[in-house]
């Protein structure tokens, strides 16, 4: 029997021909379902958007307040041209969703970006049974294995404390959306003054206005230099090697990313400390997720696509790699965070 292609790939999006809807399209389309609000998934210019309700604030901030946007709850079923859809938590960042599509008793799930570990801020990942699963593979090598979040948080706290003892400010860097709110929530209560880079401040305030439980963190830009004394500053990676950092002297820099698992990646960035904290699934989580879906066929998108699909095939899970625009390359996360909303 010929496999029914409920979803297809054209390089610029994941497309459902029967419903005529695109998932995370890079080109401008009539109808787009957005898995989450990171800029390599939520692109500007489509006529109608649909996303989880927790994505709304950021999507409007980034794509325009006046976009045509329909929001749904996790698990809420909706039909487009007779095709059955629902969104399910992906655990990647706030509002991130897997897209479940059902047609003729066949279920496909496009998972976007996801992680299995509960980060205690966004809604945790849920495994969805399906016939065909579309997975990311950002960290699809067995060298990427995350420690429990609490261990990393404890390390960060100890690092901040030590910096404070030495009279230094701690500049903690990572993605403005997702990583930072996760850090802020988990580092509470703070035992030092905290400040946020403008890009992070904007995201935080949008989320707070939308009713999310986040503390107010004052922006760096209005502060007198004297305020920065043993403080913790949340910043994006784009500030590295810029004069923006000068006002914090003396300071130490820390960087939160899954790429920090490898010494070379940390050393190359000339940062003082790398913390291995990712919003993507690690090797074990990818494998677990795939087994839990019970999928007979897996499509592997952005990341180590060829390696990970070969591995799955050898494990007896039929897999194929798919070229997408998400995360241009395996090193993408490092250069991509320059996004300033």
């Amino acid at each position: 029997m010929k496999e029914q292609k409920i979803l297809t790939f054209n390089g610029n999006s994941i497309y459902c021909p029967e419903a005529d809807v695109h998932i995370d399209p890079w080109q401008q389309v009539d109808r787009a379902i957005i898995t989450h609000a990171h800029s390599d998934h939520a692109r500007w210019g489509s006529k109608h958007y649909l996303a989880h309700k927790d994505s709304e604030a950021i999507l409007r901030m980034r794509l325009g307040e006046d976009i045509s946007l329909q929001t749904v709850e996790y698990g809420e079923v909706f039909f487009i041209n007779g095709v059955k859809f629902s969104l399910h938590p992906a655990g990647h960042i706030i509002g991130s969703a897997q897209v479940r599509v059902e047609q003729n008793n066949q279920v496909w799930v496009a998972s976007g970006d996801y992680k299995l570990q509960d980060d205690l801020f966004c809604t945790p990942y849920e495994a969805i049974k399906c016939n065909t699963f579309i997975t990311e593979s950002t960290f699809g090598l067995p060298i990427y294995k995350w420690a429990p979040q609490q261990e990393v948080i404890d390390d960060i706290k100890a690092w901040c404390f030590q910096n404070k003892l030495q009279g230094k400010n701690s500049v903690l860097m990572g993605y403005a959306l997702g990583k930072m709110q996760r850090l802020i929530k988990n580092l509470l209560p703070f035992d030092q003054p905290v400040f946020a880079h403008g890009a992070i401040f904007n995201v935080n305030e949008k989320l707070r206005a939308a009713g999310f439980d986040l503390p107010y963190i004052p922006p760096v830009k209005d502060m007198d230099k004297k305020e920065f004394k043993g403080a913790l500053i949340f910043a994006t990676g784009s500030v590295l090697n810029t004069s923006w950092l000068k006002r914090f002297e003396p300071y130490a820099t820390g960087y939160c990313s899954g790429w920090m698992a490898i010494r070379g990646a940390k050393n190359r960035k000339a940062i003082d400390r790398g913390f291995v904290l990712s919003d993507h699934a690690d090797w074990n989580e990818l494998n677990t997720a795939i087994v839990e879906t019970g999928a007979e066929k897996v499509y592997v998108t952005h990341g180590f696509t060829d390696t990970f699909s070969q591995w799955l095939n050898e494990q007896g899970i039929e897999a194929a790699e798919v070229k997408t625009m998400y995360g241009e390359d395996e090193t993408e996360e490092i250069t991509k965070e320059n996004e300033t909303p």
Binding site: I143, A261, R268, T307, T331
Partner: protein
């Protein structure tokens, strides 16, 4: 091992000298002597040799990790370091071993006589007790590949400060041949009963490259100028009628230069000279690669001795009549040196590096242009009042090298870097035109800024024509100016020519690929400078 692993991690996290010294001091103050000794051995490059075949370790690691070999290789390409890759793919454990650094080295001794099965058992059991980072360090020690971004000078400074002794004394004591399996920290650092005192070299004084114009050095009459020889910086020690030759890499190389052994009867006992060993025929140095081939050989044959005889080109003296005279001014040391060398009978074996005569800096500049014809690398400029210092110090000794030779070449292959640059394409192969084809001629790793590396990396990823394992064939489009120090015929290279110390001088964004140099251009340089 926990403590040593922590030290390693903490050192890895800072690039500030004072922090590193503080970390080292804390470690040396809080660690038993046996471990101090091992740490010192590791920091000073005295790594015990590899105990086990790399292939075996890999095989056991992938078995434990439950992954196929090809996936391990992919992982290795991303990490760029074998020990680290193994530590990352192995199942994650909680650190459960209290064995100290020295106890692990004792553990390694069991490997020498073990069968392959027993070896595997020993290694796998060790892995199971260690955390990821500990496994990384363990593997490095096991494979004899431990390296760390701490210079010996810093270690010397730290030990000097905690043992309340001058750094130069410590530097002197930890030089030379000692074995952490048999030596003791107390004896080594506090110097009691040092049996091998006769062979101990002094730490070399190293020059900085000249910054800016030569005139900035002040009055010409305050300075000596000598040719900068392109050989092996060495120290000859004659004490108790024995001769020891140390290379700058702190290797005892006496046996590599049997002809120089004669000097032990020529130089008075209690003499230590600093100079350059060069292959020298008809009053002219031979190219460095001849010397290099010679060193690479296990045995120095008669043929080698006749084709590539060496001499010692002396330029300084640290010990005379058994006295350390490093604090005397350069000028005085120079006259002592001349006196010593004059008294020898064999002028075929030892010479004083001549002092160049000049009154004005301009004369020296003219002379500098003749460096290549004289087969030297440029000048050494030394202040006449300079003492012989320890390590790389600014101010009194300067090297003034000739500008490198260069050609414009095309990037054709790229490979990912290792360690620090593991996920970027940083290792490049360059080619020159020859009858309408691009022929590879040199590999270069350095010379670009981080931003340029990223730009080239992006180009490579978007313009890959083919992949062969880790190597990518790149669309020939980017042109770089490649500088090099020496040039020679080489049947082993596709181009027939080998260049020495190739490096990227400039990214010639202004040049089209057709405008790159030809192999013929390189051949012309060869005939001019060989």
């Amino acid at each position: 091992m926990k403590r040593f692993t922590n030290l390693f991690l903490e050192l890895d996290r800072t690039n500030k000298t004072n922090d590193k010294v503080a970390l080292l001091k804390t470690y040396f103050l809080s660690t038993p002597d046996e471990d101090k000794l091992w740490a010192l051995a590791l920091f000073s490059g005295r790594r015990p040799s590899r105990k086990i075949k790399t292939a075996q370790i890999q095989e056991w690691a992938i078995e434990q990790a439950g992954i196929p070999m090809w996936l391990f290789r992919e992982s290795y390409h991303s990490v760029g370091d074998l020990s680290e890759t193994i530590s990352l793919v192995l199942p994650t454990n909680i650190s459960a071993s209290d064995k100290s650094l020295s106890e692990w080295f004792t553990y390694f001794l069991q490997l020498t006589k073990a069968s392959d099965e027993e070896k595997k058992e020993l290694i796998v059991q060790a892995w199971k007790q260690l955390s990821t980072y500990e496994i990384f360090v363990f593997n490095k020690l096991l494979m004899g590949s431990f390296r760390i971004g701490v210079s010996q000078t810093l270690v010397i400074r730290a030990i000097g400060e905690i043992s309340d002794q001058p750094a130069a004394v410590i530097a002197h004591r930890i030089m030379g041949d000692w074995d952490p399996y048999t030596s003791s920290y107390q004896e080594l650092i506090y110097g009691e009963n040092n049996a091998d005192v006769t062979s101990k070299p002094y730490p070399f004084y190293l020059a900085y490259g000249l910054e800016g114009e030569i005139e900035l050095l002040g009055k010409p009459e305050e300075w000596f100028a000598e040719w900068k020889w392109d050989g092996i910086r060495s120290q000859i020690i004659v004490r108790n009628n024995e001769i020891y030759i140390w290379s700058r890499g702190e290797e005892l190389v006496t046996e590599k230069f049997p002809e120089l052994e004669l000097l032990k009867t020529q130089l008075p006992s209690g003499t230590v000279l600093d100079g350059e060993i060069v292959c020298y025929v008809n009053e002219r140095p031979l190219p460095f690669n001849i010397l290099q081939t010679r060193i690479g050989r296990k045995n120095v044959t008669k043929k080698i001795l006749s084709e590539a005889p060496v001499i010692f080109m002396g330029y300084d003296v640290m010990e005379y009549e058994g006295q350390d005279i490093r604090s005397l001014p350069q000028e005085e040391r120079r006259s002592i040196l001349e006196k010593i060398i004059q008294q020898t009978d064999n002028k075929e074996l030892i010479k004083t590096s001549p002092i160049l005569i000049f009154k004005e800096w301009d004369e020296l500049k003219t002379l500098h242009l003749q460096s290549r014809e004289n087969a030297v690398e440029g000048f050494m400029i030394k202040r006449k009042t300079a003492a012989y210092l320890t390590g790389r110090k600014k101010g009194d000794w300067w090297k003034w090298k000739v500008d490198p030779l260069s050609v414009d070449a095309v990037l054709i292959y790229a490979q990912k870097g290792h360690g620090k640059r593991a996920e970027l394409y940083t290792d490049y192969t360059f080619a020159l035109w020859d009858e309408g084809k691009l022929i590879s001629f040199a590999k270069a790793y350095s010379g670009l800024t981080d931003a340029e590396i990223r730009e080239v990396d992006r180009f490579i990823k978007q313009n890959t024509l083919e992949k062969f394992g880790p190597v990518r064939t790149v669309k020939p489009q980017l042109v770089f100016e490649i500088g090099f120090e020496g040039i020679n015929l080489s049947p082993r290279h596709k181009s027939g020519i080998a260049v020495r110390f190739p490096r990227i001088l400039n990214w010639r964004k202004d040049k089209k690929v057709e405008e790159a140099d030809t192999l013929e251009n390189l051949r012309v340089i060869l005939t001019q400078y060989k």
